[in-house]
Subunit: 173 residues, 2 copies
DNA sequence: GTTGGCATGTAACCGGTTACATGATTTT
DNA sequence: AAAATCATGTAACCGGTTACATGCCAAC
């Protein structure tokens, strides 16, 4: 379900786009929140076309298909947003490593934490370099991604901060 | 893979336990980091037995099987912890809703955010009520879950804070 | 003319969820 | 005697990942 929603959301944010474009948008604007590769996107777009949520607006060179969201697609997107209570399931390999840290002796734990910190710091940097998605000169469409970006930044920062504090604690013992 | 690791970690943290016990530990100690239901756990324990990572130490009433981690299991757990760079994939329905918030008008966005805030606030409360897992009187084993709990608390707090700040912004406009 | 990016697709596999199924023991 | 909880399992399904496969067009 959520893949559909994400695709409908991106189509709304960007206007008509191809599967290829959408795959790229996943990598840039939506990457810290959801991700999907082309092998998942293309079949889904076909199903969504069959279900009337998107239409192939035009076909360009190299078999390129431009999809546009339909009114029914918009309606479904809106309904999901307003009605769907997001599932609370979390699966974080990093969190699992944090949980298991006490298994290691101090020196090893520090090494694991340093790798952890580096990974999140680089993701943070990446997010910081990401300006909210808005096509140049477009003031009509709302500022997509702005809130999610802020949320992502805060979460990344507190995660890096945790790693720093925990490293300091381990080193200080 | 990670399910195995989580099971090995729990067996290390708690000592020998049944699949049923482990399912409960998932709900309590590990819940904010990883989750798994019994239908996933039982088959996995059987596979892990076949692979020599755990053994059925004893069989109790009602077909209860007590599993213990083997040296090979410990080795594999340790290797994963030290060597495995956790994958950065994130899939957050909440984050997706945050991304899509600009689609809604102010009143609706506030409703969605309030639900969001309530959900995370209750998860935060739940985490706060969770003392780090340590069997009474046990000082031999390290303090499992302590770090992961701290990390989880920080992440929850900054998420709730984001919701509060965003609500304030929307209401102030 | 060959390399690289554009563009779409399929198939096998794996991990996780939901639902079904069964039976033993304890509590009320 | 009935209800709740303990305890283990299986099967169908679904979503996501990896790998395979193909062809077009532009730039060098």
């Amino acid at each position: 379900m959520s893949l559909r929603i994400a695709l409908l959301g991106l189509l709304t944010a960007s206007g008509p786009a191809s599967g290829y474009d959408l795959a790229k948008y996943f990598e840039t604007s939506l990457n810290h929140v959801w991700q999907a590769g082309h092998s998942q996107i293309y079949p889904e777009l076909n199903k969504m076309t069959a279900d009337g949520l998107v239409t192939v607006e035009a076909e360009g060179a190299r078999g390129r298909k431009i999809y546009a969201i339909t009114p029914e697609g918009s309606a479904q997107l809106r309904t999901w947003l307003v009605e769907h209570a997001p599932s609370g399931t979390v699966r974080s390999e990093s969190g699992l490593q944090a949980f298991l840290l006490p298994l290691l002796d101090k020196a090893e734990a520090i090494l694991v934490l340093e790798r952890f910190r580096a990974q999140y710091a680089s993701r943070l940097k990446q997010l910081e370099s990401l300006a909210p998605h808005r096509p140049a000169g477009d003031t009509a469409r709302p500022d997509f991604g702005k809130y999610a970006l802020d949320l992502g930044l805060r979460q990344m920062r507190s995660t890096v901060q945790w790693a720093d504090d925990t490293l300091a604690e381990l080193r200080g013992d």
